[in-house]
Amino acid sequence: MEALSALVALTGDEEKAAAAASSAGFAYGLAAIGPGIGIGYLVGKSVEAMARQPEAAGMVRTTMFLGIAFTEALALIGFVVFILIGL
Protein backbone atom coordinates (compact mmCIF):
# COMPACT_ATOMS: atom_id res chain seq x y z
CA MET A 1 0.00 0.00 0.00
CA GLU A 2 2.86 2.32 0.87
CA ALA A 3 4.56 1.63 -2.45
CA LEU A 4 1.32 2.41 -4.26
CA SER A 5 0.93 5.75 -2.51
CA ALA A 6 4.58 6.51 -3.33
CA LEU A 7 3.75 5.89 -6.99
CA VAL A 8 0.80 8.23 -6.87
CA ALA A 9 2.83 10.89 -5.10
CA LEU A 10 5.22 11.37 -8.03
CA THR A 11 5.89 15.03 -8.60
CA GLY A 12 5.81 16.53 -12.07
CA ASP A 13 9.57 16.28 -12.59
CA GLU A 14 9.77 12.69 -11.41
CA GLU A 15 6.89 11.75 -13.66
CA LYS A 16 8.70 13.33 -16.58
CA ALA A 17 11.89 11.45 -15.76
CA ALA A 18 10.00 8.15 -15.49
CA ALA A 19 8.29 8.76 -18.82
CA ALA A 20 11.62 9.65 -20.42
CA ALA A 21 13.29 6.51 -19.09
CA SER A 22 10.57 4.16 -20.30
CA SER A 23 10.23 5.82 -23.70
CA ALA A 24 14.01 5.72 -24.14
CA GLY A 25 13.88 1.99 -23.58
CA PHE A 26 11.06 1.59 -26.09
CA ALA A 27 12.88 3.75 -28.64
CA TYR A 28 15.97 1.62 -28.57
CA GLY A 29 14.04 -1.63 -28.56
CA LEU A 30 12.02 -0.62 -31.60
CA ALA A 31 15.09 0.71 -33.40
CA ALA A 32 16.88 -2.61 -32.95
CA ILE A 33 14.19 -4.79 -34.59
CA GLY A 34 14.67 -3.76 -38.21
CA PRO A 35 18.48 -3.76 -38.30
CA GLY A 36 18.49 -7.08 -36.42
CA ILE A 37 16.41 -8.74 -39.11
CA GLY A 38 18.38 -6.96 -41.82
CA ILE A 39 21.83 -7.97 -40.59
CA GLY A 40 20.73 -11.55 -39.99
CA TYR A 41 19.38 -11.84 -43.52
CA LEU A 42 22.44 -10.13 -45.01
CA VAL A 43 25.04 -12.26 -43.24
CA GLY A 44 23.06 -15.43 -43.86
CA LYS A 45 22.93 -14.76 -47.59
CA SER A 46 26.65 -13.86 -47.63
CA VAL A 47 27.60 -17.11 -45.92
CA GLU A 48 25.48 -18.97 -48.46
CA ALA A 49 27.27 -17.18 -51.29
CA MET A 50 30.70 -17.87 -49.78
CA ALA A 51 29.87 -21.55 -49.32
CA ARG A 52 28.71 -21.90 -52.90
CA GLN A 53 31.66 -20.05 -54.36
CA PRO A 54 34.64 -19.97 -51.98
CA GLU A 55 36.86 -18.26 -54.57
CA ALA A 56 34.62 -15.17 -54.44
CA ALA A 57 34.78 -15.03 -50.63
CA GLY A 58 36.96 -11.88 -50.50
CA MET A 59 34.61 -9.86 -52.67
CA VAL A 60 31.52 -11.11 -50.86
CA ARG A 61 33.08 -10.25 -47.51
CA THR A 62 33.84 -6.66 -48.53
CA THR A 63 30.32 -6.15 -49.83
CA MET A 64 28.92 -7.78 -46.71
CA PHE A 65 30.75 -5.35 -44.44
CA LEU A 66 29.48 -2.43 -46.52
CA GLY A 67 25.92 -3.71 -46.23
CA ILE A 68 26.30 -4.29 -42.50
CA ALA A 69 27.61 -0.74 -42.08
CA PHE A 70 24.57 0.74 -43.83
CA THR A 71 22.06 -1.46 -42.00
CA GLU A 72 23.66 -1.00 -38.60
CA ALA A 73 23.51 2.80 -38.89
CA LEU A 74 19.75 2.65 -38.18
CA ALA A 75 20.24 0.78 -34.92
CA LEU A 76 22.99 3.19 -33.91
CA ILE A 77 20.82 6.22 -34.57
CA GLY A 78 18.30 4.55 -32.28
CA PHE A 79 21.02 4.18 -29.66
CA VAL A 80 21.91 7.87 -29.90
CA VAL A 81 18.23 8.79 -29.53
CA PHE A 82 18.07 6.49 -26.49
CA ILE A 83 20.90 8.41 -24.86
CA LEU A 84 19.47 11.79 -25.82
CA ILE A 85 16.01 10.98 -24.39
CA GLY A 86 17.41 9.24 -21.34
CA LEU A 87 19.42 12.25 -20.20
Binding site: M59, T62, F65, L66, I68, F79, V80, I83
Partner: protein
Protein backbone atom coordinates in the same frame (compact mmCIF):
# COMPACT_ATOMS: atom_id res chain seq x y z
CA UNK B 1 20.25 -5.27 -1.67
CA UNK B 2 23.30 -4.13 -3.50
CA UNK B 3 24.06 -0.51 -4.11
CA UNK B 4 24.43 -0.02 -7.84
CA UNK B 5 24.68 3.59 -8.88
CA UNK B 6 25.26 4.21 -12.56
CA UNK B 7 27.37 7.35 -12.85
CA UNK B 8 26.07 10.22 -15.00
CA UNK B 9 27.20 10.04 -18.60
CA UNK B 10 29.45 13.04 -18.25
CA UNK B 11 31.47 11.22 -15.63
CA UNK B 12 32.18 8.08 -17.65
CA UNK B 13 33.18 10.09 -20.72
CA UNK B 14 35.37 12.62 -19.02
CA UNK B 15 38.56 12.55 -17.07
CA UNK B 16 40.25 15.27 -15.10
CA UNK B 17 41.22 18.18 -17.29
CA UNK B 18 45.00 18.05 -17.51
CA UNK B 19 44.95 21.79 -17.97
CA UNK B 20 42.06 23.98 -19.16
CA UNK B 21 40.54 22.79 -22.46
CA UNK B 22 42.94 19.85 -22.71
CA UNK B 23 41.50 16.61 -21.36
CA UNK B 24 42.09 12.89 -21.78
CA UNK B 25 40.35 12.74 -25.18
CA UNK B 26 42.61 15.44 -26.59
CA UNK B 27 45.63 13.67 -25.11
CA UNK B 28 44.67 10.36 -26.75
CA UNK B 29 43.99 12.05 -30.10
CA UNK B 30 47.34 13.84 -30.06
CA UNK B 31 49.10 10.64 -29.03
CA UNK B 32 47.37 8.70 -31.82
CA UNK B 33 48.48 11.22 -34.43
CA UNK B 34 52.06 11.24 -33.09
CA UNK B 35 52.36 7.43 -32.80
CA UNK B 36 51.09 6.91 -36.35
CA UNK B 37 53.48 9.52 -37.73
CA UNK B 38 56.46 8.15 -35.82
CA UNK B 39 55.81 4.53 -36.92
CA UNK B 40 55.79 5.49 -40.59
CA UNK B 41 58.72 7.93 -40.34
CA UNK B 42 60.82 5.22 -38.65
CA UNK B 43 59.74 2.66 -41.26
CA UNK B 44 60.51 5.07 -44.07
CA UNK B 45 64.03 5.69 -42.80
CA UNK B 46 64.98 1.99 -43.01
CA UNK B 47 66.97 0.67 -45.96
CA UNK B 48 64.38 -0.51 -48.53
CA UNK B 49 66.85 -2.93 -50.14
CA UNK B 50 67.09 -5.22 -47.10
CA UNK B 51 64.44 -7.69 -46.04
CA UNK B 52 61.94 -5.78 -43.86
CA UNK B 53 61.85 -6.46 -40.14
CA UNK B 54 60.53 -4.82 -37.01
CA UNK B 55 58.72 -1.54 -37.53
CA UNK B 56 59.15 -1.59 -41.30
CA UNK B 57 57.55 -5.01 -41.46
CA UNK B 58 54.57 -3.66 -39.54
CA UNK B 59 54.28 -0.61 -41.79
CA UNK B 60 54.49 -2.72 -44.96
CA UNK B 61 51.77 -5.03 -43.66
CA UNK B 62 49.50 -2.06 -43.03
CA UNK B 63 50.15 -0.52 -46.44
CA UNK B 64 49.55 -3.86 -48.13
CA UNK B 65 46.30 -4.32 -46.21
CA UNK B 66 45.06 -0.89 -47.29
CA UNK B 67 46.05 -1.49 -50.91
CA UNK B 68 44.71 -5.02 -51.31
CA UNK B 69 41.90 -4.99 -48.78
CA UNK B 70 40.43 -1.56 -49.40
CA UNK B 71 41.67 0.30 -52.47
CA UNK B 72 41.77 -2.58 -54.97
CA UNK B 73 38.38 -3.89 -53.78
CA UNK B 74 36.56 -0.59 -54.14
CA UNK B 75 38.37 1.77 -56.54
CA UNK B 76 40.56 -0.54 -58.60
CA UNK B 77 44.02 0.26 -59.92
CA UNK B 78 43.26 3.96 -60.56
CA UNK B 79 42.65 4.56 -56.87
CA UNK B 80 46.11 3.55 -55.66
CA UNK B 81 47.07 7.23 -55.38
CA UNK B 82 44.58 7.49 -52.52
CA UNK B 83 46.46 4.96 -50.37
CA UNK B 84 48.29 7.55 -48.19
CA UNK B 85 45.08 9.44 -47.40
CA UNK B 86 43.11 6.30 -46.60
CA UNK B 87 45.96 4.88 -44.56
CA UNK B 88 46.23 8.06 -42.46
CA UNK B 89 42.51 7.92 -41.73
CA UNK B 90 42.67 4.21 -40.90
CA UNK B 91 45.68 4.53 -38.59
CA UNK B 92 44.30 7.58 -36.79
CA UNK B 93 40.88 6.02 -36.15
CA UNK B 94 42.39 2.71 -35.11
CA UNK B 95 44.83 4.33 -32.70
CA UNK B 96 41.99 6.46 -31.28
CA UNK B 97 39.76 3.37 -30.81
CA UNK B 98 42.31 1.09 -29.21
CA UNK B 99 42.74 3.06 -25.93
CA UNK B 100 39.19 1.93 -25.12
CA UNK B 101 40.62 -1.40 -23.99
CA UNK B 102 44.10 -0.40 -22.81
CA UNK B 103 44.12 -0.58 -18.99
CA UNK B 104 44.24 2.80 -17.20
CA UNK B 105 43.41 4.68 -20.40
CA UNK B 106 40.06 2.87 -20.91
CA UNK B 107 38.55 5.52 -23.15
CA UNK B 108 38.20 5.44 -26.93
CA UNK B 109 38.81 8.99 -28.16
CA UNK B 110 36.21 8.43 -30.90
CA UNK B 111 33.47 8.00 -28.28
CA UNK B 112 33.16 11.79 -28.17
CA UNK B 113 31.44 13.08 -31.27
CA UNK B 114 34.02 15.78 -32.12
CA UNK B 115 36.65 13.50 -33.68
CA UNK B 116 34.28 11.38 -35.83
CA UNK B 117 32.47 14.53 -36.91
CA UNK B 118 35.64 16.29 -37.94
CA UNK B 119 36.87 13.22 -39.83
CA UNK B 120 33.62 12.76 -41.70
CA UNK B 121 33.46 16.45 -42.60
CA UNK B 122 36.97 16.05 -44.00
CA UNK B 123 35.84 13.03 -46.02
CA UNK B 124 32.77 14.97 -47.19
CA UNK B 125 34.89 17.85 -48.47
CA UNK B 126 37.35 15.43 -50.11
CA UNK B 127 34.81 13.33 -51.98
CA UNK B 128 32.82 16.33 -53.23
CA UNK B 129 36.07 18.03 -54.26
CA UNK B 130 37.13 14.87 -56.11
CA UNK B 131 33.80 14.79 -57.91
CA UNK B 132 34.15 18.37 -59.12
CA UNK B 133 37.79 17.86 -60.05
CA UNK B 134 37.13 14.76 -62.16
CA UNK B 135 33.78 15.66 -63.73
CA UNK B 136 33.53 19.43 -63.35
CA UNK B 137 29.99 20.69 -62.97
CA UNK B 138 28.80 17.41 -64.49
CA UNK B 139 29.31 15.86 -61.05
CA UNK B 140 26.12 17.50 -59.86
CA UNK B 141 24.29 16.20 -62.93
CA UNK B 142 25.54 12.62 -62.54
CA UNK B 143 24.89 12.50 -58.83
CA UNK B 144 21.55 14.32 -58.72
CA UNK B 145 20.14 13.03 -62.03
CA UNK B 146 21.22 9.38 -62.21
CA UNK B 147 21.00 8.03 -65.77
CA UNK B 148 18.45 5.42 -66.76
CA UNK B 149 15.53 6.89 -64.80
CA UNK B 150 12.31 7.99 -66.57
CA UNK B 151 12.15 11.81 -66.87
CA UNK B 152 9.01 12.23 -64.74
CA UNK B 153 10.55 10.32 -61.84
CA UNK B 154 13.27 12.95 -61.37
CA UNK B 155 10.81 14.97 -59.22
CA UNK B 156 11.05 12.10 -56.75
CA UNK B 157 14.60 10.85 -57.34
CA UNK B 158 16.54 14.13 -57.27
CA UNK B 159 15.62 15.21 -53.71
CA UNK B 160 16.25 11.69 -52.44
CA UNK B 161 19.64 11.55 -54.15
CA UNK B 162 20.52 15.01 -52.83
CA UNK B 163 19.66 14.08 -49.26
CA UNK B 164 21.33 10.68 -49.36
CA UNK B 165 24.53 11.84 -51.05
CA UNK B 166 25.20 15.24 -49.55
CA UNK B 167 23.46 15.20 -46.18
CA UNK B 168 23.09 11.64 -44.90
CA UNK B 169 26.58 10.40 -45.85
CA UNK B 170 28.59 12.60 -43.45
CA UNK B 171 25.91 12.19 -40.77
CA UNK B 172 25.88 8.40 -40.95
CA UNK B 173 29.69 8.20 -41.05
CA UNK B 174 29.83 10.28 -37.87
CA UNK B 175 27.09 8.46 -36.00
CA UNK B 176 28.31 4.99 -36.97
CA UNK B 177 31.80 5.47 -35.58
CA UNK B 178 30.73 7.54 -32.57
CA UNK B 179 27.81 5.38 -31.45
CA UNK B 180 29.68 2.11 -31.89
CA UNK B 181 32.56 3.23 -29.70
CA UNK B 182 30.25 4.88 -27.15
CA UNK B 183 28.08 1.76 -26.92
CA UNK B 184 31.14 -0.43 -26.38
CA UNK B 185 32.47 1.90 -23.71
CA UNK B 186 29.14 2.01 -21.84
CA UNK B 187 28.87 -1.80 -22.00
CA UNK B 188 32.31 -2.18 -20.44
CA UNK B 189 31.43 0.37 -17.74
CA UNK B 190 28.17 -1.44 -16.98
CA UNK B 191 29.71 -4.85 -16.48
CA UNK B 192 32.65 -3.50 -14.52
CA UNK B 193 30.28 -1.66 -12.16
CA UNK B 194 28.05 -4.71 -11.82
CA UNK B 195 30.84 -7.06 -10.82
CA UNK B 196 32.31 -4.44 -8.48
CA UNK B 197 28.95 -3.97 -6.75
CA UNK B 198 28.46 -7.74 -6.39
CA UNK B 199 31.94 -8.30 -4.99
CA UNK B 200 31.34 -5.62 -2.38
CA UNK B 201 27.80 -6.69 -1.50
CA UNK B 202 27.37 -6.13 2.22
CA UNK B 203 25.07 -8.22 4.39
CA UNK B 204 24.64 -10.91 1.75
CA UNK B 205 27.87 -12.89 1.24
CA UNK B 206 26.06 -15.29 -1.11
CA UNK B 207 26.20 -12.62 -3.80
CA UNK B 208 30.00 -12.43 -3.88
CA UNK B 209 30.60 -15.56 -6.02
CA UNK B 210 27.88 -14.38 -8.43
CA UNK B 211 30.11 -11.40 -9.22
CA UNK B 212 32.32 -13.72 -11.23
CA UNK B 213 29.67 -13.89 -13.97
CA UNK B 214 29.75 -10.19 -14.98
CA UNK B 215 33.53 -10.38 -14.66
CA UNK B 216 33.64 -13.12 -17.32
CA UNK B 217 31.27 -11.08 -19.47
CA UNK B 218 33.60 -8.10 -19.04
CA UNK B 219 36.59 -10.14 -20.23
CA UNK B 220 34.62 -11.45 -23.20
CA UNK B 221 33.43 -7.94 -24.13
CA UNK B 222 36.97 -6.59 -23.88
CA UNK B 223 38.00 -9.18 -26.46
CA UNK B 224 35.00 -8.17 -28.56
CA UNK B 225 36.05 -4.51 -28.36
CA UNK B 226 39.45 -5.43 -29.84
CA UNK B 227 37.54 -6.63 -32.89
CA UNK B 228 35.19 -3.63 -32.94
CA UNK B 229 38.06 -1.13 -32.77
CA UNK B 230 39.58 -2.65 -35.89
CA UNK B 231 36.26 -3.20 -37.68
CA UNK B 232 35.06 0.39 -37.21
CA UNK B 233 38.34 1.81 -38.53
CA UNK B 234 38.07 -0.58 -41.48
CA UNK B 235 34.43 0.31 -42.22
CA UNK B 236 35.07 4.06 -42.01
CA UNK B 237 38.01 3.72 -44.41
CA UNK B 238 36.22 1.45 -46.87
CA UNK B 239 33.19 3.77 -46.98
CA UNK B 240 35.53 6.70 -47.62
CA UNK B 241 37.07 4.72 -50.48
CA UNK B 242 33.63 3.89 -51.90
CA UNK B 243 32.51 7.54 -51.75
CA UNK B 244 35.70 8.82 -53.37
CA UNK B 245 35.61 6.09 -56.02
CA UNK B 246 31.98 6.88 -56.79
CA UNK B 247 32.74 10.57 -57.14
CA UNK B 248 35.76 10.01 -59.40
CA UNK B 249 34.02 7.59 -61.78
CA UNK B 250 30.28 8.03 -62.31
CA UNK B 251 28.24 4.96 -63.18
CA UNK B 252 26.98 5.03 -66.73
Amino acid sequence: MIALEFPPINEILRWKDLFPSFNKIALIAVAAALIGTVIFLLAGSKDPMKAPKGVRNLAETIVEFIENGIVMQTMGRDGLGWTPFLMSIFMFIYLCNVPGIIPFLQMPATARIAIPMFLSLLVWVVFIGTGFKHQGIGYLKSSLFPPGVPKALYILVTPIEFISTFLVRPFSLTVRLFANMLAGHILLVTFALLSEALFQAKGNPGLIPVGVLPLFMLIFLTGFEVLVAFLQAYIFTILTAVYIGGAAHPEH
